[in-house]
Amino acid sequence: MKPAPFAYARATTLAEVFDLLETHGDSARLLAGGQSLVAALNLRLASPSVLLDINGVAALRGISFADGRLRIGALTRHAELGADPLVAQHAPLLAQAVPHIAHAAIRNRGTIGGSLALADPAAELPACILALEAVLVLASREGERRVAARDFFQGLYQTALRGDEVLAAVEIASQADVPCTLQELARRHGDYAIVGLAAQSARGALRLAWFGVGATPLRTPRAEAALAAGDVAGAQAALAGELDPPEDLHGPPALRLHLARVLLGRAAAALKGH
């Protein structure tokens, strides 16, 4: 289980990243925390010809808050995300999610940018970003463009990122003092959830973002509306029409639909008790 050979280049500026992407095109992969990518390399599930290590790019680091918006650099590691006071204040949903992500050693290396760019549909952070209605900042030589989370996740491991782009940061409108909850059911500590729910209240409305139930993290607008109106049972019923979960080793689609309803009830209780 050794990776196929590849070349390796380190970038320290975004300009270098863009140069390298231009030179190597689709045969290159960006290496951030590497906690999914290096495993895929070891398993030879990925065999890029060159890895572009962006860990030294200072412009992709840091967490800041200005003008009511939290900006989280793409290279922010999960452990940093979980410990950051600005995140805890303005996007507590993310802080809640961090302890559910794998194990301490993984959280020390894995990055938010890597997680979002990989877009594993069972991962916590993509769903949180969706529930937070965050904006993803995509950088290329042409400059930055901003993509709403709902437009970013396009399919199984598919995102709006173009081959010449780097995910630079995530921007989130402050959710300070707004109730939120992260609920998930995983077989063991740190496992990907069978079903998970990131729920964020928002000025009388409610955003429910699900993970582990489809090809991408998903919002369920009808359930959101019902729950916002206080109709938990109605929201649970609505899920049947809004979720079409896959069958896998955990069980049939009905398992996930059932568990989603349970999580919805628990999320409603958690939000109420907030």
Partner: protein, 153 residues
Amino acid sequence: MKLDLSLTVNGEAISARVEPRMHLVDFLREVLDLTGSHAGCEHGVCGACSILVNGEMVRGCLMLAVQAEGAEVWTVEGLTESGAIAALQEAFVARNALQCGYCTPGMLVAAATLLKANPSPTREEIREGISGNYCRCTGYHAIVDAIEEVSRA
């Protein structure tokens, strides 16, 4: 293709040339003969390759050696010689918190990391703290006992 790599391992300055594809635990084992860290699954699940890089616990199989350029790496060999984990090692032996010993170097790193962050963990917190480290032999109970004993000392 091989790249130059300079780093500090167990306090010793190391220079080597490595293939980019070599992960850090293979580098430690194959190039430096530091065979205490083990490659148990090579996909980040078992924790047998847990080591310290710049003071933080990482999976040695999920980091390329070339990514450790300039880093300070500590493995069970160095942590033993420095005495940094002596209390844990003593408790592991005294309580038989190991059988085959294959998970033990990684388990010790996880335990030391846990106790650094939380010097007085509950048994549940200990179980959570080592939940990313697979042990097929012990049933975990004695490992939890040993860590608990050190936390109370």
